[in-house]
């Protein structure tokens, strides 16, 4: 038995990792580094290759090109059982024929850990996820949320340097999910050395939990940064719309640069490095768009209104373009066809050069 048993120092590095299924490239030259102790969310729509990336770390798919490192170790050629990882999948995969305590002890026994220490470590792992009282139950006697905790305890009992979580909350209902999200955040504070790769299609989970988010689409890494960076300063249109559902307005930068032209309206926004005359996309978050007159005013007719409790989501048709605005709940609910004026502050807008979509490391 080599490796596995001794906890590897955290950290994961993808070095140009590509995966193909029968000529169909599902992961395209992924370069990504997860620092020791960091929570990295892999965020993207279904089918974007997130699970494939995670399985490449676990060793269940063999990359067609590139290398995978865990800590300083090149694990590309290692079989899964020698990689020293903890993994929790969507369906939990608890062993149905083993009690909770034996599920949690499984990894320790498989790695021939010191027998005398096993019960203590099992109890410790179960305490960590608040399942100490359920040690003698069978998985079928647990609720979905409890099974999930046991799956996490099982993965953590072997004290892995990296923890791989593949949509761990997607089988839970909304309320449980937000509770588990808090729990996962607490768990990470208690295990500051463990690197976590967290695969999800849910931006709320990624924004809540992650230190950094890697945005995936169509087998490629689209963007990578802290939640704040991605939310406030998205670098690609895909990120802007997938994370936070931003307004993306087609504009032309005026010459000399300083304002942009949107459907005949001159808007004052920071144009940054985008050259005058170029076409670009202006990204504005719906909640930063205000109702009423102000700087960068746009007038249009309301095409749809959604009441969302504390806010109203207005869809306003401005010269053929749909602009979304989240405004505080209005006393007089706007009516379809009303003419309204919207505005936004210059510093709340981000100008994305045309064709921004290159990968980042």
């Amino acid at each position: 038995m080599t490796g596995g048993a001794e906890a590897v120092r955290g950290g994961i590095r993808f070095d140009g990792v590509s995966v193909a299924y029968g000529g169909n490239v599902v992961l395209d030259r992924l370069d990504l580094t997860v620092e020791p102790g960091e929570v990295m969310a892999l965020l993207g729509p279904s089918g974007s290759g997130k699970t494939t990336a995670l399985r490449a770390v676990a060793g269940f798919v063999r990359p067609a090109a590139g290398r995978v490192f865990i800590g300083d170790r090149d694990v590309t050629a290692l079989p899964p059982h020698k990689r020293g990882i903890g993994m929790v999948v969507q369906q939990y995969a608890l062993f149905p024929h083993l009690r909770v305590q034996d599920n949690v002890a499984f990894g320790l026994k498989a790695q021939k850990a010191d027998k005398a220490g096993i019960p203590g470590r099992v109890a410790e792992a179960l305490e960590l996820v608040g399942m100490g009282d359920y040690a003698r139950r069978y998985p079928r006697e647990l609720s979905g949320g409890q099974q999930q905790r046991v799956a996490i305890a099982r993965a953590l009992a072997i004290r892995p340097g990296v923890l791989l979580l593949d949509e761990p909350l997607s089988a839970l209902d909304a309320q449980l999910r937000s509770g588990m999200l808090t729990e996962l955040a607490r768990l990470h504070r208690e295990l500051p050395d463990v690197s976590i790769l967290y695969v999800t299609h849910d931006q709320v989970e990624a924004l809540t939990l992650a230190d950094r988010i890697a945005v995936m689409d169509k087998a490629r890494l689209q963007d990578c940064g802290t939640p704040q960076e991605l939310y406030r300063r998205p670098r690609t249109e895909f990120t802007a719309s997938f994370v936070g559902n931003a307004n993306l307005l087609p504009v032309t930068v005026a010459e000399p640069a300083g304002t942009v032209d949107f459907a005949g309206h001159a808007l004052a926004v920071p144009t940054g490095s985008v050259a005058g005359g170029a076409t670009a996309t202006l990204c504005v978050r719906p909640h930063l768009v205000g109702l009423g007159d102000g700087p960068n005013a746009l007038t249009g007719t309301i095409s749809e209104v959604q009441w969302r409790g504390s806010t109203h989501r207005l869809y306003v048709d401005v010269d053929g373009h749909r602009v979304k605005a989240d405004v505080r709940e209005l006393r007089d609910t706007p009516v379809l066809g009303d003419r309204v004026t919207l505005h936004f502050a210059a510093h709340d807008a981000v100008l994305l050069p045309q064709g921004a979509g290159a990968s980042h490391g």
Binding site: H81, K82, V89, A93, F95, H97, F106, G107, A110, R154
Partner: protein, 265 residues
Amino acid sequence: MLVHSRTGKWATWAVFLLLFVPLFAVPLLVVLAASFATNWSGAFPSGPTLDHYDAATAGDSLQALTTSLVTAVTASLAALTIGTWAALAAASLGRRGKRFLDALFMLPVAVPSVVVGLAVLVAFSQPPVLLNGTRWIVILAHTVLVTAFAYTSVSAAAVRLDPMYAQAAASLGARPSYVLLRVRLPLLLPSLTAAAGLCFALSMGELSATMMLYPPDWTPLPVQIFAATDRGSLFTGAAVAVVLMAATLLVLFAVSRIRTRASYR
């Protein structure tokens, strides 16, 4: 059952009984009745007696029961081992490899058992492997005949077994052999016991290949029954048959107890 109305339920039961009773129950009951009879000239047997059972549970017949049990247990364990091994190998092969193994293991089912018996006889009647005249040739023929059933039933379960369990185990640091012993085989246990029961029952009742192969000191029960009826002792044959059924059912029942305990969810 998907029938809800009262009359519908009654009708279903009536049809079931009408088909089941004459086809399955009556022949078995006739054998049971015959085993206690001294005479059966009218519609019903007469002269109730236990004499046949004295004969059926002593001497040659008792010997034959032991022979049958040893043969069936040995053959089904061997078949289970080979069948499971092949089924697990097939599950990890590609589609073409699996189809080849499927076809290979279907052969003894497709070929009449007399032919299998003859093949075994011809193959093992001369050196280098001379088994003719020993008990091993019977056990071998039974193994060949029942392995197909073990393979088919374990193979179906192995294909259905979600690979996520084995992967979860591997991610926890378990070597492939450990995964097999502690995860895959335990999860396959229900179908393993089902296969074991099936193989055992088939072997207990095997006659046609056995007839060609059995040595004088290794006479299984079906041969005993055949011999009894052949010399006209129908009632003794019936008693031996009841013993055969009882022994088979008893073992199947024990196996199904293990099975219930081994099934999850």
